[in-house]
């Protein structure tokens, strides 16, 4: 506990929220004091997002109490909550696409001409106030009429924060604010948050990046199964200690032990290139091997995966799959060649939330169930039940919509799609982002099993622990080129980071969580 912290600005006591049979919150309490930075961590499903929604007034708790500056809040609507001075900085900025900086800042509260009561907006005042507000807070010279879509993620985040600051907030809630930021942008945000604390604001910082929370916060509350299981001082706790509190499980046993006996070359790239994305890539992925791939934003690693899956084909060089020259021009062609992709943006590209587990799981390999033009539903059900068992997918049944599953189980479905399609090359793009630890462990185990069965796995990840724990070798890309190939067993985090940032040692690279 931070002894200097002031009086309680926000106090949640014994919150309970049920959804059907599950309890999203089961008596969660926390107190955020004025002038303090309070971290809130927990696995997916621990109740973090339910708390944020309650603080937003979007959900009402079934029981428990909320007090803001000592005042009990009953039947909070979004408007009431905001009037009481609680402002939430969402993960994706709540900014209207196509608006300018000034419009975004003053939407709903536009400066008027004349005495301020006239119905006519003073667009000029609005622009000037916007520029002044951002400059005075953040020392950033942004023109008020700049369209938001010309700004970087951090600048949009700054606009969002400024919008909240204009309303003199009592409590600021940051909900996973760094999810879409690269490292330098995140650092800039941290400096801003620290300043807000010095100015006396109460800040609740919700994140699943434990390092971030440790470095930033004065106090941390750990949520598990809808309950606050610990409130601790991060200066005296290790990341592993926090993680252990979140999961009741030792992090050390997360990665399966693998006996690596790579077989014949499965995928060979020779001088592969795509203009504007990457150039002159040569590497080999052997059967039974897990090949790590990493790089900063703009390194070309994502584009390489997109090219291998036919989303944006390479235009130079050759690609050999099982020794045969191929160049998939579309995803359907790639799938036909036995390539599967688990995309990063699961809810957008990975699984259809409104379709059932079965429909999702068999979508890429439907052909195998076709008998005389018709789908053999019996065999399909049987196969899906097999997949559910094999991946330990927690679902009410094969016909339940994927949207009803937890994030980790959705990701397992996204992976299950490729099992049984005869795919031999698996491309994984950040497969464990926003996945809870239990599901993570199962996904790692499955990848190890697939490799042991002779598949080739290309694992694109910015999680260094994951790369070192799971891969055999790690390819590092920088500015569209391959800059290092490291043996995972020997590679240190420093080595990887240095290579990824172009070999300039000492500088903190973007986008990689160490």
């Amino acid at each position: 506990m931070n002894d200097q912290a002031g009086e309680a600005a926000l106090s949640l006591q014994g919150l309970v929220k049920r959804f059907g049979a599950t309890r999203a919150l089961d008596g969660a309490s926390l107190v955020v004091r004025r002038g303090s930075l309070h971290g809130l961590i927990g696995q997916n499903g621990a109740g973090k997002s339910t708390i944020v929604k309650i603080l937003n007034g979007l959900l009402q708790p079934d029981s428990g109490s909320i007090a803001i500056d000592g005042r009990q809040v009953v039947d909070a609507s979004p408007r009431l909550i905001e009037r009481l001075g609680v402002h939430i900085i969402h993960q994706e900025p709540m900014l209207v696409p196509g608006f300018t900086v000034a419009e975004a800042l003053f939407l709903g509260d536009e400066p008027r001409l004349g005495a301020g009561r006239s119905p006519v907006v003073s667009w000029r005042t609005m622009r000037r106030c916007a520029e002044e507000a951002i400059a005075s807070r953040f020392g950033l010279a942004l023109r008020g009429d700049t369209p938001l879509d010309q700004l970087g993620a951090a600048e949009r985040q700054i606009v969002q924060i400024t919008r909240s600051l204009l309303k003199a907030p009592r409590v600021l809630v940051f909900d996973e604010p760094t999810a879409s930021l690269v490292r330098s942008e995140a650092n800039r945000l941290f400096a801003i948050i620290r300043r807000l604390r010095e100015e006396g604001a109460a800040v609740l910082y919700v994140s699943h990046y434990l390092e971030e929370v440790r470095d930033l916060c004065d106090t941390v509350t750990v949520l598990r199964n809808g309950r606050d299981v610990a409130t601790l001082d991060p200066a005296r706790t290790s990341v592993a200690g926090m993680a252990a509190l979140m999961v009741d499980r030792d992090l050390g046993a997360m990665f399966p032990t693998r006996s690596s006996l790579p077989g014949a070359p499965l995928l060979e790239a020779r001088g592969l290139g795509r203009s504007g994305a990457f150039a002159d890539l040569s590497f080999t992925l052997r059967a039974g091997e897990i090949l790590g791939l990493t790089g900063l934003v703009g390194s070309g690693a994502k584009e390489l995966v997109a090219a291998l899956f036919g989303l944006a084909p390479a235009d130079r060089g050759t690609l050999l799959l099982h020794g045969r020259a191929v160049m998939p021009a579309s995803p359907s062609e790639a799938v036909g060649l036995g390539i599967g992709l688990v995309p990063e943006d699961r809810r957008r590209n990975g699984v259809a939330l409104d379709a059932s587990v079965a429909e999702n799981a068999t979508l890429p390999g439907l052909v195998r169930f076709v008998r005389r033009f018709l789908l053999d539903r019996g065999r399909e059900q049987e196969a899906v039940r097999g997949l559910i068992a094999r991946l330990a997918i927690k679902t009410p049944g094969p016909d339940a919509p994927v949207g009803a599953l937890s994030g980790g189980n959705q990701q397992k479905v996204s992976l299950a799609k490729w099992l049984g399609t005869g795919a031999t090359l698996f491309l994984l793009d950040e497969p464990t982002v926003a996945v809870d630890v239990a599901a993570k462990v199962e996904i790692y185990r499955l990848l190890a099993d697939l490799a042991a069965g002779g598949a080739g796995i290309l694992l694109l990840s910015s999680d260094l622990a994951e790369l070192r724990g799971l891969a055999d070798r790690i390819l590092v890309m920088h500015r569209g080129r391959l800059v290092a190939e490291l043996r995972a067993a020997d590679a240190t985090a420093d080595e990887i980071l240095t290579a990824a940032s172009g070999g300039a040692a000492g500088s903190a690279p973007d986008g990689i969580a160490a």
Binding site: V96, G108, D109, P147
Partner: protein
């Protein structure tokens, strides 16, 4: 922290697609007008252009309504804002006005009933869409059916001829050699431009359509504003009905056919706007463009049967161009 620039400005020298499209569309308009001026002797006269505006007024009022609905509902054609009932609503209000007037009611009552009926249809749409969550396309399709049926019930599928002082004024000459109808177009355009650009309404309506969650977070009454757009569109259809009654001296079946032109102009209007968004100004430009096209064809003796086809080709080229320009890479 590195000193890198965080913003990613558009690379210089490359014209943003939106601007390219707007310039292209404006050029096309100028070329079309120029061609007609050269080929049809009567085209470029002031009186003919005033006629074009007069002939376009009904379409413009409906297209303004559609524009409001699209702004408040968002740009997605199926899930976003659209009001297919505008044409049938126009027909119904026109028929009601003519029938009331013929039944001996005064101008005030008749006009009130016509405009009120338009607003009521808008309200029905608003309730179905905002309150019950029926996709706008389906809700307004159904209300369009109901309106078209009601119009037939009122008129028994006949032409209702009527005459009244109000219609006389609307169809008659106004100041500066323009007709009153022309002035109605000018006044409505000015009023809407003022509301949408000088007051916060335009900005807020855009927020509601493009990012309802952000609008709600900004404390805007999202549902009420969305509903307001449909009611406003219905009211505009009622007003348009009075202009239509003046032009036709009553009501005649088939006025619902204007719907396709309304959809076309509200779409086409987007390419005349700065950021490829629906605006009142852009829609007006599109309406006048179509008006010139139809008028010009008449003057150069091209069969009116071509008009629909050319409008269809226009829609397809606009949207094909837009999807090509917006395609990444």
């Amino acid at each position: 922290m590195t000193a890198q620039s965080l913003s990613r400005p558009l690379s210089s020298g490359q014209m943003p697609p939106a601007r390219l499209l707007r310039i292209g569309a404006t050029l096309l308009l100028i070329v079309a007008v120029g061609l007609f001026a050269a080929m049809a002797p009567g085209f470029a006269t002031a009186s003919n252009l005033a006629d074009v505006a007069e002939q376009s007024t009904v379409l413009a009022l409906l297209a303004f309504g559609m524009t409001l609905v699209v702004i408040a509902g968002g740009p997605d054609v199926v899930r976003g804002g659209i009001d297919l009932s505008l044409g049938a609503n126009l027909g119904l209000c026109d028929a009601l006005y003519a029938a009331m007037s013929n039944a001996g009611h005064g101008d005030g009552t008749s006009a009130l009933v016509a405009v009120g009926a338009g607003a009521a249809v808008g309200l029905v749409n608003a309730v179905a869409i905002i309150r019950f969550g029926v996709p706008p396309l389906l809700a307004t399709l159904a209300s369009m059916n109901a309106c078209a049926g009601l119009e037939l019930v009122v008129t028994q599928n006949t032409v209702l001829t009527t005459d009244s002082p109000l219609l006389g004024i609307v169809a008659g000459p106004g100041a500066l050699g323009l007709s009153t109808t022309d002035w109605i177009l000018v006044a409505m355009t000015a009023a809407l431009l003022l509301v949408m650009h000088a007051t916060p309404v335009g900005l807020r309506l855009r927020a509601v359509g493009l990012h309802p969650r952000a609008a709600r977070a900004a404390g805007l009454p999202v549902a009420a504003m969305g509903a307001g757009a449909y009611v406003a569109a219905g009211t505009l259809a009622g007003l348009a009905a009075i202009v239509q009654a003046a032009r036709l001296s009553g009501s005649s079946p088939g006025s619902g056919d204007i719907l396709l032109s309304v959809v076309l102009t509200s779409l086409l209007g987007v390419v005349f706007s700065r950021r490829l968004q629906p605006t009142i100004g852009g829609t007006l430009a599109a309406v006048l463009f179509i008006g010139c096209l139809v008028n010009g064809f008449q003057l150069v003796n091209v069969s009116s049967y071509w008009v629909n086809g050319i409008e269809g080709v226009l829609i397809l080229s606009v949207v094909a161009l837009r999807s090509l320009l917006q395609r990444p890479g």
